[in-house]
Symmetry: C3
Subunit: 117 residues, 3 copies
């Protein structure tokens, strides 16, 4: 099985493809830091779409997602954006819990695992 | 490799099978919300048994578990139930940390990865 | 696909190999509890090196890492040790969030997934 790394820097790769499975790094909103949870979620999901595309797959093949919110009371606001993004009938499994994130301006972080085929 | 989704709704699937690997959603105690950590853990582990059965495997093939407790001082209470449930000689790897969960009535959440064969 | 468990006790295995993928348990600093975040991180990364060796692989084949810090303001201190340890051009994807850990003396926990080949 091959390992293909995507957007690799010193600290981390943004995604790693191992065989038929794609793993992403925890994504924070690179263009929407400090904005609303809804805006950060939308920005993160765009980044995930781009990473999956770069890996050769898309959101219809999501397997699993882990979501961290710095304030769990924003669960509903995040879910509105999430629910609209997930392809009907193809939702991944998911966990969503509260944790502070690396920088206070980031209030949402999402990490996914997807299938290549 | 095939993707098989189990109990799929808009927001998430409760489990996804990809090739020989089964991923579950983070399970909270559907029948024991608001009850003791021990009761919630027992309820969650029953749900995991059912999901693994639906996927075609069982707890003897667990690979990895992530456990979130809303209060880490309940670590011992959760572990008593967990330790009794894990098949001897076949324990998965595991991480257990503190995070608040989606609803205050839920104080334990467990997500697992298992092998199909 | 085979399942090989490493350092299995009642509660958990320290690593599980499933096919070509190795999963570790969340590692805390067994020899450096109560010490600085830098010391704990270094100790944990040694433990991960040993587990990967026992599984038949090494840090050049890391796929993904999840890092929990009990105090996210120690992010920089942990990263200094992490960045020096990661092989150039082969960084895994990664998420790092704040969560309290099982015992107060542990302030860093790291769980990884790696490729066997």
């Amino acid at each position: 099985m091959t390992i293909k790394r995507i957007q690799t820097q010193t600290r981390m790769s943004q995604a790693v493809v191992h065989g038929n499975t794609v793993y992403t790094a925890g994504q924070v909103a690179q263009s929407a830091g400090g904005e609303s949870v809804a805006n950060q979620t939308a920005n993160i999901l765009e980044q995930i779409d781009q990473l999956l595309a770069e890996a050769g797959t898309d959101k219809a093949k999501l397997i699993s997602a882990t979501i961290w919110l710095s304030d769990i009371t924003t669960f509903g606001e995040m879910n509105e954006v999430w629910d609209a993004w997930v392809p009907e009938g193809q939702a991944p499994c998911r966990a969503c819990v509260e944790s502070k994130l690396a920088l206070p301006k980031f209030t949402v972080e999402i990490m996914v695992i997807a299938a290549l085929d």
